[in-house]
């Protein structure tokens, strides 16, 4: 399919609060193509999560246009165009891991046989085969987050939206999950929108890095990564990687994001 997967034109979103309007997003223009891995980076309040939620039709933009697969976000949500991964795994404690992954499939009305096949498939994809019968509390935080990614992948939407999915994990686990996420992306060819506040994470994962800054939330820089698709972890010591990370840091500083 030709055309962008996600396209924002002059997008603005203002929350009306007791202290007056808050401009969470202002004049955001961005085009995301099929198979892109796009990271949104910036400090708190820069609107990166709000933008992701707007794409998911969990927030309503107040200005401009936003299309997802050529539809409005609302239509895209109703046609189940994306899987969403939240910062916390949010697994249901009363369901097993397999039961949690099956949840969207039950709601969307897949047949029992289909459910079983898909659950097995995605659990394998996130390297959790054999853990289907365990309850969430029996798994580590990293494994729980992998299960929540499996849940988002289960119904095979083309778009995966991830809101700081590894933010609560320690760095060693995070590195491993980053590596696995890249492999998964390579195997599935999904379009991924990924919110983070870690510069190395953004540079390591993305084909494009969107640098944002707050008050009002806006895009200050969009960097197309020249890194190859195959990325071993030690690519992070390469000159190219450091150069991109530097540009991201400069972008954040230019937006007065980190007032040190």
């Amino acid at each position: 399919m030709a055309g962008p997967v996600i396209e924002a034109r002059g997008l603005g979103l203002t929350f009306q609060t007791g202290d007056g309007p808050v401009h969470a997003l202002k004049d955001v223009n961005l085009t995301i193509g099929r198979g892109d891995f796009v990271s949104f980076i910036g400090p708190s309040g820069c609107g990166k999560t709000t933008f992701l939620r707007a794409i998911a039709a969990l927030e309503q933009p107040t200005e401009g246009t936003l299309t997802v697969n050529g539809m409005t976000p609302e239509q895209a949500r109703k046609s189940r165009a994306y899987g969403y991964v939240f910062q916390a795994a949010g697994l249901y404690p009363w369901r097993t891991i397999a039961g949690n992954v099956r949840l969207p499939l039950e709601i969307m009305g897949f047949s029992k046989v289909e459910q079983e096949a898909r659950v097995n498939n995605v659990l394998q994809l996130v390297d959790l085969e054999g853990f289907g019968k365990k309850f969430p509390w029996q798994l580590s935080g990293g494994m729980q987050q992998r299960a929540s990614i499996a849940r988002a992948l289960a119904f095979d939407a083309d778009i995966l939206l991830m809101d700081e999915p590894f933010g609560a994990l320690d760095e060693i686990v995070r590195d491993r999950l980053n590596e696995e996420l890249l492999k998964l992306w390579a195997r599935t060819g999904k379009t991924i929108g990924f919110v983070t506040h870690s510069i190395p994470e953004a540079v390591y994962l993305s084909t494009r890095i969107v640098v944002m800054s707050p008050r009002p939330g806006r895009i200050t820089d969009v960097i197309d990564s020249p890194l190859p698709k195959e990325r071993p972890l030690d690519i992070r010591d390469s000159a190219e990687f450091i150069a991109i990370a530097h540009r991201v840091r400069e972008g954040l500083r230019a937006g007065h994001s980190y007032e040190v």
């Binding site: 899987g83 939240f86 009363w94 097993t96 969307m108 509390w137």
Partner: protein, 287 residues
């Protein structure tokens, strides 16, 4: 064993205090008797007498124990003097009332969570209903129902339900609202219907809250059934035993009925606790 020692210690202290209080409260009657007979009575003579009075102000623990034992085991269970018979009369009203109250409570909670008008209108009435003294409203319910030809078990069960629905409403509303914004957003991303959200998220999430409410509710249901027996002319039930006891000054009978009610309440709460443990374990929510 470590858990038993403190419990027995507390029990022993209570029994000792009870005996002391029994002596202190029953002594005036013995002194009065002695004064009327014109004899002097020493404390050593008085002490054993306070333990065996026919109608003591405060019966000694062993008198209550004997009363309980005779009431529970010393009669045919169909006898009007059997505490098993009276206990069952009260228990059946309690259980029916509890079932009605729980059903009503859960349905009201579901309505409150899903309907804004009900949210705004029902809760104030539910709270107001509990501020009315049950002793005042119980005779009204009995009289009104009696005039439309309903008598026996059902009026008592309705009073039970009146007391037991409230904790269930409060607990279930809290339980059904316990899923956080992220959980609800997740289901929105699946475009889940309200029915799916209810069955897959809200209802299972509310289970721990439900069981806590049920424990409070069943104890309240028992109180309701006993109160419901007071204005009915005291024919049968633990409430009737309490009332008869107070008519005829049979304090031992009152205390025996009170203890039967307390044991029944403890057993019912323990039963719900057992169901809770099994259910939550099967749901995987107990570790």
């Amino acid at each position: 064993m470590k858990a038993v020692v403190p419990i027995l210690t507390v029990l022993a202290v209570i029994v000792a205090l009870w005996y002391a209080a029994a002596v202190w409260m029953n002594a005036p009657w013995e002194r009065d008797q002695a004064a009327r007979a014109g004899t002097a009575i020493t404390f050593a003579q008085l002490l054993p007498l306070t333990m065996v009075q026919e109608r003591p102000v405060l019966p000694a623990p062993h008198q209550v124990a004997v009363g309980l034992w005779e009431g529970l085991a010393g009669q045919a269970i169909t006898s009007k003097r059997s505490l098993v018979y009276h206990g069952w009369v009260t228990l059946s009203a309690t259980l029916l009332g509890f079932a009605i109250g729980t059903t009503a409570g859960v349905l009201l909670a579901v309505g409150i969570v899903h309907n804004r008008a009900m949210d705004l209108s029902v809760m104030p009435w539910a709270i107001a209903s509990q501020t009315i003294p049950i002793l005042a409203i119980a005779p009204m319910i009995i009289v009104v129902l009696n005039s439309v030809g309903v008598s026996g078990l059902l009026p008592k069960a309705i009073i039970s339900a009146y007391l037991s629905f409230f904790p269930v409403v409060v607990g279930m509303v809290k339980g059904l609202r316990s899923p956080d914004a992220m959980q609800l957003d997740l289901l929105r991303t699946y475009n889940a219907s309200r029915a799916a959200t209810f069955w897959k998220l809200r209802l299972p999430a509310s289970m721990p809250y439900l069981f806590t409410s049920l424990k409070v509710g069943i104890a309240a249901a028992l109180v309701g059934a006993i109160v419901g027996e007071l204005p009915t002319g005291a024919v049968a039930g633990l409430g009737a035993r309490l009332l008869q006891g107070s008519y005829y000054g049979q304090t031992v009978q009152i205390w025996a009925a009170l203890f039967t009610a307390a044991f029944a309440a403890a057993a019912l709460v323990a039963l719900i606790g057992a169901v809770q443990r099994v259910t939550l374990r099967r749901m995987g929510m107990a570790r």
